[in-house]
């Protein structure tokens, strides 16, 4: 087998595409089981997967795709009607293929056990359609393990008188008659067509009057590697030889003048003394050992190369953007050269001019790089229709998923991280939100529930909403459940009650289903979203439905921030959470029993003394700035001693240990090289919130 490591990345990329295509199309197929174009497309995708994995030498994957292709072929030829069970089975296979691909990417060896269950199921389906038991197609390697071969010769075994008559006649009218024996290469695939090809070529130059084995067996490929024939032609022996040799995968050819009487004698002789296999068949052995060496090389050598190479993350970039990138960089080079030139001449104005261009270009480049990192949310959304389909089957509910705005773009990291929380929310909606058809009918709703997932950009944010028309979240149910769990709900408004669902360990599901788990979910969802710098809100109305609104920053690495000083230290506060900045006097801060609060817009909001929290000595005595921020639909006042101003900052990651203290999102570097930490407003405020409750 060839060394295929160079094609690995490509193989994975294309296979993933094909799997996604299959997923989408199979989903479609369930809705339109008679759509032939769709079936053809599915067949092609499966076929390509099979071909590629076989070429890579991934036998287990090849086997599974081969069997799947068989099923699609039954659909194609109308031998099998598409039904829900078949679709489910195919989906299981697709999931398995994804798993196999992942394993391969992690350099794990695949084993037949991984697919044996599915193969059995596929066999059942196939048997039910064809009425024939499916023979376990022997893998090629088992065919290769051949018994030692006899020497190839032109001695026939089933010549009969009529054959000889034909030969005699042909000879008398001046034709050449040849006895031909052909041995195909060991391990030749599709032997039937191979023979057919040779016969076809011979037929153009003469007549094949006798074959061994019979023509039927030959065309079905039902023979080992050798076959013999008698050929009547006007061509010379050399011409016949070159005709035969123009086909590939032929190991050996013997062509002799055919003599009827001799042939009959040899045939008699052969019947008495059947040939014994040669003791040392040179060729097959050499081939076999070469093969085993190759196999060893395959399993051994590439492993060393690939064992520790981590899974590459790749991203597809629109060529237009890449071209623009190149243009900008070449422009940058031009101005750098100008700048060099100016500096040699001590031309300060020249330097300033070029510098201006350079700064324009860098900000364009920055913008562009961010855009290159952007990915469409369809990357994650595309797998949801399939999920909802499975869920509605499992839960015996009827529902549709409507997706809007799947071309909305977000930073690659955000897009990849988004899958998990969205899956969770979708499952929740399907499991707890949408009612069963009967209940829905009683409520005057359509039997089929609808879940709408939409994404759109709004300023520097992307808003993702997930809405269902299910039973909604009843604050009273939450209240009861919360009280059972010992959570004090006194004085909570309905909205506050609903927010409880985001609290750790809270679940309203009466029984635990394996769909949406045990209610460790929503707080995890929230943590994930806030971790991505976003926020999540929920609105709900009993028997009308629930709506989750997720707001995410367009990009993670560069943000607008408000720079402040606390004591003598610089800090950055992400601008998107800042509502307003007010100046306040120490006397305006009111102390309640357990909290310090400030009057803001007719209400009171908690005050966070950052200097105490962060253990920094404050410099301002009584005049302070309160940065009013919104976190979790509530206002907080964060105190700062001094304002520096608004600035675009690049977020740098900080050490995970520092991240654990839950105060900082990251750090940024100032022009003068000094460092400012970025406050994690949500963590600061939620810490405060907990003190309150």
């Amino acid at each position: 087998m060839d060394d295929n490591s160079a094609y690995r990345e490509l193989f994975f990329e294309e296979s993933e595409d094909n799997l996604q295509k299959l997923n989408d199309n199979v989903l479609e197929l369930e809705k339109e089981p008679d759509n032939k174009d769709l079936i053809n497309e599915i067949f092609r995708a499966a076929h390509t997967l099979k071909g590629s994995s076989a070429t890579m030498g991934y036998d287990v994957m090849t086997k599974l795709t081969h069997r799947m292709e068989d099923i699609f072929d039954l659909f194609k030829t109308d031998k099998l009607k598409v039904n829900g069970d078949h679709i489910s089975l195919i989906f299981k296979c697709l999931d398995k293929l994804t798993e196999l691909l992942n394993d391969l990417q992690d350099d794990k060896e695949l084993s037949e056990d991984q697919i044996s269950e599915l193969i059995t199921e596929l066999n059942k389906v196939e048997t039910s359609a064809t009425g024939k038991a499916v023979e376990d197609t022997p893998t090629e390697s088992s065919q290769e393990a051949k018994k030692p071969q006899v020497k190839l010769d032109t001695v026939f075994a089933s010549l009969e008188e009529p054959d000889l008559d034909v030969v005699k006649q042909a000879k008398s009218s001046g034709h050449n008659v040849f006895a031909i024996a052909i041995r195909l290469d060991q391990g030749t695939l599709l032997k039937g067509p191979r023979v057919f090809l040779i016969m076809q070529k011979l037929d153009e130059e003469g007549d094949v009057v006798h074959t061994e084995p019979t023509a039927d067996l030959l065309e079905n490929g039902n023979f080992d590697t050798d076959f013999k024939l008698i050929f009547v032609t006007n061509s010379s022996l050399d011409e016949v030889k070159s005709i035969i040799n123009s086909s590939s995968e032929i190991d050996q050819v013997i062509i002799e003048d055919f003599d009827g009487e001799k042939a009959m004698k040899a045939q008699e002789e052969r019947k008495k003394n059947p040939p014994t296999p040669q003791k040392a068949p040179a060729k097959p052995k050499a081939a076999a050992s070469a093969k085993s060496v190759a196999k060893k090389a395959k399993s051994g050598a590439p492993k060393h190369e690939t064992a520790h190479h981590p899974r590459n993350q790749s991203i597809r970039v629109d060529l237009g953007r890449l071209d623009r990138f190149l243009n900008l960089v070449s422009e940058l080079v031009v101005y750098r050269n100008q700048m060099e030139d100016s500096s040699h001449r001590n031309d300060l104005d020249g330097i300033k001019d070029s510098l201006e261009q350079v700064s324009r270009l860098t900000s364009e480049l920055q913008d562009l790089v961010l855009r290159i990192r952007m990915q469409q949310v369809s990357l994650v959304f595309s797998r949801f229709p399939r999920m909802i389909r499975d869920l509605s089957r499992d839960l015996h509910k009827e529902m549709d998923l409507v997706i809007i705005g799947e071309d909305t773009e977000l930073d690659k990291t955000v897009v990849t991280e988004l899958g998990e929380p969205l899956i969770h929310l979708l499952r929740n909606s399907a499991d707890h939100g949408i009612e069963d058809p009967e209940t829905r009918e009683k409520l005057g709703k359509p039997r089929k529930g609808t879940i709408t997932l939409s994404a759109y950009q709004e300023g520097n944010q992307v808003i993702i909403t997930l809405e269902d028309d299910g039973k909604g979240i009843d604050p009273q149910v939450i209240k009861k459940s919360a009280e059972e769990k010992g959570i004090n709900t006194e004085g909570m408004s309905e909205d506050e009650l609903r927010l409880l669902i985001f609290h750790p360990g809270f679940s309203t599901a009466k029984k635990i289903t394996n769909i949406s788990g045990r209610g460790v979910g929503l707080d995890a969802v929230k943590t994930k979203i806030t971790g991505l710098g976003g926020s999540i809100e929920m609105r709900s109305q009993v028997n009308v439905g629930s709506k989750f609104i997720i707001k995410l920053p367009l990009t993670l690495s560069i943000i607008q921030a408000l720079m402040v000083k606390i004591g003598n230290e610089n800090f950055a506060i992400p601008l998107d959470v800042v509502e307003k900045v007010v100046m306040l006097d120490e006397s305006e801060i009111i102390s309640t029993a357990e909290n310090e609060v400030y009057r803001y817009q007719g209400g009171i909001i908690p005050i966070i003394r950052t200097n105490e929290l962060l253990k920094i000595k404050s410099t301002a005595e009584d005049k302070k700035f309160a940065i009013i921020v919104k976190s979790d639909q509530q206002y907080f006042g964060i105190l700062a001693d001094q304002l520096i101003g608004q600035k675009e900052i690049v977020i740098k990651k900080i050490d995970p240990v520092l991240q654990k203290i839950n105060r900082y999102q990251g750090a940024t570097i100032f022009n003068n090289g000094s460092i400012a930490l970025i406050l994690d407003v949500n963590a600061l405020c939620q810490g405060k919130g907990k003190v309150k409750s």
């Binding site: 087998m1 067949f43 092609r44 390509t48 071909g51 070429t55 599709l190 995968e249």
Partner: protein
Amino acid sequence: MGKKILIVDDAVFMRIKLKDILEKNGYEVAGEAQNGKEAIEKYQSASPDLVTMDITMPEVDGIQALKKIREIDGNAKVIMCSAMGQQGMVMDAIKAGAIDFIVKPFDTERVIKAVDKALS
């Protein structure tokens, strides 16, 4: 000068693999097509010495493309690329004038032997 070959396959992976095999063995790849329609166009524009033609492809499949190409050029040399389980289609292709066929998974030796023979 190496002989010119046109590669036709809908999978990029297969095209690249074949291209590498052919180029490493001194052949020139005159072009690539990802379906039968493109194959017919490129056959006329690139006039290759040989075509490797996948069977299962979108738009126009390999057998239709083979027939069309043989109509345009009666001497066109086309090798079919097939997979296990496509006996019938390979036979059709041979009837339509394919000079040889190779079976996936591709193995350098087999591909080169078939191509060498076809071009000799």
